[in-house]
């Protein structure tokens, strides 16, 4: 068993890395479990980030995360490229176990495990995953050159994916269950002005067609109930995210959708010494900059909590 650390941060991404930058500069020498295959978080699968302040020319999502990680490392963050698989958050000393069986003990913990993509929930979605069904446009767009494909969803990520996919595909349907989008105006305009993108409004995907590979989708009009099929070879699912809070169930207060509940205007959870930030908490804003902002708050809250217990540095 290792010594008791002041602070362990679970999860990378803008929230975890920013928390680490602040905590490391406060000389808390935080340990950050960045995830074995999810290090860097959701931005690792994006392309150009155009709205992160300070980067007027835009920056690639993975490059932005590399910068944040390096900044956290520079001030003394210790990175563990593994997942937290078990936590015990009660009591004065919290215990975290990683996927390789190592155990960490800490006086304070910051939770920043973010969110994962949501699935539609159709049986064929599973069997045709990797055979035309995809959750990562930047990874898989390449395989759909000159083909007809669809993106399901109506938020910024769905529109970003649709726009990105026009580099490869000859036609991209944007299937959305309502007749208006959640996405920002600039993303909407860009997609609406794109001759390769065709909007399919008020439509829900009710079946994926094809046995060995995707050959189409069956959609249902959410207003008239009318059903029809679209022929296509690729289906990109971008219908939103759900918090990665599985690990925390039964330990910490979650809302009905699984998001960690925090005291308003702070990152405090219902357990002393445990703080939460980023997309694990936020289902409203969900931006890189807001995640970074709450990561900063979590580090400051943790720092204050530790100072109250007489811990000022590692």
């Amino acid at each position: 068993m290792s010594k008791v650390e002041p602070l362990v941060i679970i999860g990378s991404g803008p929230a975890g890395y920013t928390a680490a930058i602040y905590a490391a500069r406060a000389q808390l020498s935080p340990i950050l479990l960045e995830g074995s295959v999810t290090a860097g978080g959701a931005l690792m699968n994006t392309t150009e980030v155009e709205n992160f302040p300070g980067f007027q020319k835009g920056i690639m999502g993975p490059a932005l995360m590399e910068e944040m990680r390096a900044q956290a490392e520079k001030f003394g963050t210790r990175f563990i490229t593994d997942d937290a698989v078990k936590v015990d958050l009660k009591g004065d000393v919290k215990t975290i176990q990683d996927g390789s069986g190592n155990t960490y003990q800490a006086k304070a913990v910051i939770l920043a495990t973010g969110s994962g993509y949501k699935k539609i929930g159709l049986p064929k979605e599973e069997t045709l995953s990797g055979r035309g069904v995809s959750y990562c446009a930047t990874c898989d767009g390449f395989f759909f050159k000159e083909q007809t494909i669809a993106v399901v969803g109506g938020g910024d990520s769905a529109l970003e994916e649709a726009t990105f996919l026009t580099r490869f595909a000859s036609k991209v349907y944007l299937i959305h269950r309502r007749n208006e989008l959640r996405a920002s105006r600039i993303m909407q305009q860009r997609a609406q002005n794109d001759p390769k993108i065709e909007f399919v409004w008020n439509s829900q995907v009710i079946d994926i067609l094809g046995e060995d590979k995707v050959s189409g989708v069956k959609i249902k009009d959410t207003v008239t109930g009318e059903e029809k099929s679209l022929s296509l070879t690729g289906l990109f699912v971008a219908i939103g995210h759900e918090p990665r809070s599985e690990l925390l169930k039964g330990q910490i207060n979650l809302d009905e959708n699984g998001y960690v509940q925090t005291t308003p205007a702070s990152t405090k959870t219902n357990i002393d010494g445990v703080f939460a930030c980023g997309d694990l908490v936020d289902h409203v804003y969900r931006q890189a900059i807001t995640a970074a902002g709450t990561g900063c708050q979590a580090a400051l809250d943790a720092e204050r909590f530790l100072a109250l217990h007489g811990i000022f540095s590692a």
């Binding site: 295959v37 990797g130 930047t138 590979k213």
Partner: protein, 106 residues
Amino acid sequence: MATLILTDATFETEIKNATTPILVDFWAEWCGPCKMIAPILEQVAAENVGKIVIAKLNVDENPKTAQALGITSIPTMNIYQNGEIVKTIVGAKPKPALLADLAAFL
């Protein structure tokens, strides 16, 4: 590196001649999850010498093989035994989960 690099030119021969199960990781430079799984595959290769061969095929430089196999997502990891695909794993996953998937071959 403990992994074997395959190309469109060598793919079939290597699969046919393999004396142990062979896992082929189809990947590309632009794919974030591919980069995440790469070091894990290196470890699995180094820890299981003689039991399984871990090979990699860059789909950007070698599009023919991936196309012939109908691969549409990366990383895809196909496991071959006696020249036949016996298992397909799609997407990056943590090492314990990957080892569980490979248990039958190790």
